[in-house]
C-alpha cells in the first residue's frame, strides 16, 4: 500500500516535469512567430526605438534617440496598421514579390501532384524488377540535396534557353519525384481486391484510376500537396542560381534583402508571408501529420 502510494507520487512528479519541459519548449517554439506578428502591428517609430541598435544605418544623428539595447516586446504601445497600409497600398514592390512567390509555387504544387497521381497509380499497379529499379532511382533523386540537383537543372535551363524565366524553376519542380514517392506508398496499401473487382466489372485502367484509386487517395493527395507547397514556399536555392534578375525573386529570398530603413515594414511583410502556411496549418494539421507519418520509412 505504502509502495503504491510512493509510486503514484513518483509518477505525478514525473508528469509535472514532463509538463514543464513541454511548456518551456512551447514558449521557445512560439516565440519567433508570435514576436514577428506582434511587431508587425507597431509603428515605425516604435520599431526603430526598440531595434534601432540592430538595424540602424550609420548616420550618427539619429542615434541619440535610440536605446542602447534591443527591446523585444510582445505588446505594441499602440496597435497600428500603418505598416500594413504601407505594404498593401504604398509600396507595391513587396506585393509584387509575394505574387512572384504565388506564381512560382502554385503551378509547381498543382502539376507535380497531377503528374504524381498518374505515376503513382502506375507504380503501385506494376510489378517487376525494372519497376523496382526505376522507383529506387526516384527515391535517390528525391533525397539528393540542391548542391547536386541544381547543376543538372542549370544545364537544362541553359539548353532550353529558359534561364531567368519561371520555366527554369517550374519544370524541375513539376517533375520532382517527391509526390510520386509519397503517393505510391499510399496507393500500395489499397487492397488489390478492390482493383480486381473493378476489373471484373469491366472497368478499364483509366476508369479504375478515376473512380477507385483517386477517391481513396483524396486525403493523401491533400497531405502531399501541403508538404509540396510549404517546401517551395520556403525556396531559396533555386532562384539564387537560376534567376539573375532580383526583380523576379520570390519573397522567400527577397525578404532578407529588405532595406534597413524599412525594418518596420519587414515585420509586416514577414507576417503576410507566413499567412498562407499558417492558415493551411490551422485548418489541416491532421493532414500534415498524416503526410509526415507516411514518410516514416523510406521503402514502400
Amino acid at each position: 500500500m505504502e509502495k503504491q502510494h510512493i509510486k503514484h507520487k513518483k509518477g505525478l512528479l514525473f508528469r509535472i516535469i514532463c509538463f514543464i519541459f513541454a511548456a518551456s519548449f512551447a514558449v521557445i517554439f512560439l516565440f519567433p512567430t508570435v514576436v514577428t506578428i506582434a511587431n508587425s502591428f507597431m509603428s515605425q517609430s516604435e520599431i526603430s526605438s526598440n531595434y534601432g541598435m540592430v538595424f540602424s544605418t550609420t548616420d550618427s544623428g539619429a542615434k541619440a534617440y535610440i536605446s542602447e539595447k534591443v527591446n523585444i516586446k510582445l505588446i505594441p504601445d499602440l496597435v497600428s496598421f500603418s505598416q500594413y497600409f504601407t505594404v498593401l497600398f504604398k509600396s507595391p514592390s513587396y506585393l509584387l514579390k509575394f505574387w512572384n512567390s504565388v506564381i512560382l509555387v502554385v503551378p509547381i504544387t498543382v502539376f507535380q501532384i497531377l503528374i504524381a497521381c498518374l505515376a503513382s497509380y502506375g507504380f503501385a499497379r506494376t510489378e517487376g524488377k525494372l519497376k523496382g529499379i526505376v522507383f529506387f532511382g526516384y527515391i535517390i533523386l528525391m533525397l539528393m540535396p540542391y548542391q547536386v540537383t541544381l547543376v543538372p537543372n542549370y544545364l537544362v535551363a541553359e539548353w532550353f534557353h529558359i534561364l531567368d524565366t519561371n520555366w527554369s524553376i517550374w519544370l524541375p519542380g513539376i517533375f520532382s519525384p517527391f509526390s510520386v514517392y509519397l503517393l505510391t506508398k499510399y496507393m500500395k496499401r489499397i487492397p488489390r481486391a478492390l482493383f480486381e473487382a473493378a476489373q471484373i466489372d469491366g472497368a478499364g485502367e483509366w476508369q479504375i484510376f478515376r473512380k477507385v484509386a483517386m477517391p481513396i487517395c483524396k486525403g493523401a493527395i491533400y497531405s502531399c500537396a501541403i508538404l509540396v507547397f510549404i517546401d517551395y514556399w520556403n525556396m531559396v536555392e533555386q532562384p539564387l542560381i537560376l534567376f539573375s534578375d532580383t526583380e523576379k525573386y520570390p519573397l522567400s529570398v527577397f525578404l532578407s534583402k529588405i532595406n534597413e530603413g524599412e525594418i518596420g515594414l519587414a515585420f509586416a511583410v514577414a507576417t503576410i508571408y507566413m499567412v498562407p502556411g499558417l492558415l493551411i496549418f490551422l485548418y489541416s494539421e491532421e493532414y500534415l501529420v498524416e503526410g509526415i507519418t507516411y514518410q516514416g520509412g523510406i521503402k514502400g
Binding site: 534591443v70 540542391y146 547543376v151 524541375p172 536555392e237 507566413m274
Partner: protein, 289 residues
C-alpha cells in the same frame, strides 16, 4: 499468365510516361552530362582528363572549408535534432494536459518560412542583441554572433526550431505503434518504467531513430538556406557552406569544379541512402518479424 502481365505493363505506360519522361529530361540526362563534364578539361574542347577535376577540387581551399563547415554543422545539429525530438515525443506520450496543443506548437515552425523569422534571429544574435544583453547579466562580454567563430551557435537553434516538429511526429507515430500487450506483460512482471522504456520502447523505436538520423543528415545539407538569409552571400568563414561554394562556381561558370563537386556529393548521398536501406532491411525483419 505471362501474356497477361505484359498487357498489364503496357496499359500502365500512359500513367508512368509523363513523370518518367520529365525525370529523364530534367534530371537523368543532364546528370549524365554532369558526369561527362567532371572528366573533361572544359565543355568546349572536351579533352578527357580523368580525375584531374576531382583532384583540383579536393585541393581547393574554399571547397575544403565548405566541406568542413557543413560537416561540423551536421555533427552538432543532427544529434541534437534526434535527441530533442525524441524527448519531445516521449513527453507528449505521457498523460499531461494540453497534449494536442503542444503538438500544434511544436509543429508550427514547419509551416513558417525561414525568411519570415530571420529578423527575430538578427535581433537576438546581433552585437547589441537580446542574447548578449541576457549574457551580460552574467558578466559575459558581448559577441557579434553572426560574424564570429561561434556563428554556428546562432544557426543551430534556427535549424532545430524548423525541423524538430517533423522528427517529433515520426517518433510519435512510432511510439503509437508499439504493441500495448508487450508493455502490459512487462508491467505484470513488475518491470519499472525505466526498464520498459529502455528494453522495449527504445528497441521498437530503433529503426525510426536511424531513419530520423539519416533524414536529419540529409536536411542538414540544406542549412545554407538559413545561413544565406541571415548573413547573405559572403558570411564569415565559419559559416561558409557547400552551397556558398557551389553558388560561387555558378557565378564563375566553372563547370568542371561544379560537376566534380556534384558528383562527389551524390556519391556521399548514395552511401547514406544505401545505409538507410540496409538498416531498414535489417530492422524491418527484427521488429515486424
Amino acid at each position: 499468365m505471362k501474356k497477361l502481365k505484359k498487357s498489364k505493363k503496357h496499359t500502365m505506360a500512359p500513367f508512368l510516361a509523363p513523370s518518367i519522361i520529365g525525370v529523364a529530361i530534367f534530371f537523368l540526362l543532364p546528370f549524365m552530362v554532369v558526369i561527362f563534364y567532371s572528366f573533361v578539361d572544359n565543355p568546349v574542347t572536351k579533352e578527357w582528363v580523368w580525375f584531374d577535376n576531382f583532384v583540383r577540387l579536393v585541393k581547393n581551399n574554399s571547397f575544403k572549408r565548405a566541406v568542413k563547415n557543413t560537416a561540423v554543422f551536421t555533427a552538432i545539429a543532427v544529434p541534437l535534432a534526434v535527441i530533442l525530438s525524441l524527448l519531445l515525443a516521449i513527453v507528449l506520450d505521457q498523460k499531461i494536459p494540453g497534449k494536442s496543443q503542444f503538438r500544434t506548437f511544436f509543429l508550427s515552425p514547419m509551416m513558417v518560412p525561414i525568411a519570415s523569422v530571420v529578423l527575430i534571429w538578427q535581433v537576438l544574435f546581433h552585437y547589441n542583441g537580446a542574447v548578449n544583453d541576457f549574457l551580460s547579466t552574467f558578466g559575459v562580454s558581448p559577441v557579434d554572433w553572426l560574424k564570429s567563430d561561434y556563428a554556428m551557435v546562432a544557426i543551430v537553434p534556427l535549424y532545430l526550431w524548423k525541423n524538430l516538429g517533423y522528427n517529433m511526429i515520426l517518433f510519435m507515430a512510432a511510439l503509437g505503434n508499439i504493441p500495448r500487450d508487450i508493455i502490459e506483460v512487462a508491467q505484470l512482471e513488475s518491470a519499472n518504467s525505466w526498464q520498459i522504456f529502455w528494453h522495449i520502447k527504445i528497441r521498437y523505436l530503433s529503426p525510426t531513430i536511424l531513419f530520423v538520423t539519416i533524414m536529419s543528415i540529409i536536411s542538414s545539407f540544406k542549412v545554407f538556406r538559413e545561413v544565406y538569409l541571415l548573413t547573405g552571400d559572403h558570411p564569415v568563414t565559419s559559416l561558409y557552406m557547400l552551397q556558398h561554394y557551389m553558388n560561387n562556381m555558378f557565378k564563375s561558370l566553372d563547370y568542371q569544379k561544379l560537376s566534380a563537386a556534384a558528383i562527389l556529393m551524390s556519391l556521399v548521398m548514395i552511401v547514406l541512402i544505401g545505409a538507410l536501406f540496409l538498416i531498414e532491411n535489417h530492422f524491418g525483419k527484427d521488429v515486424e518479424e
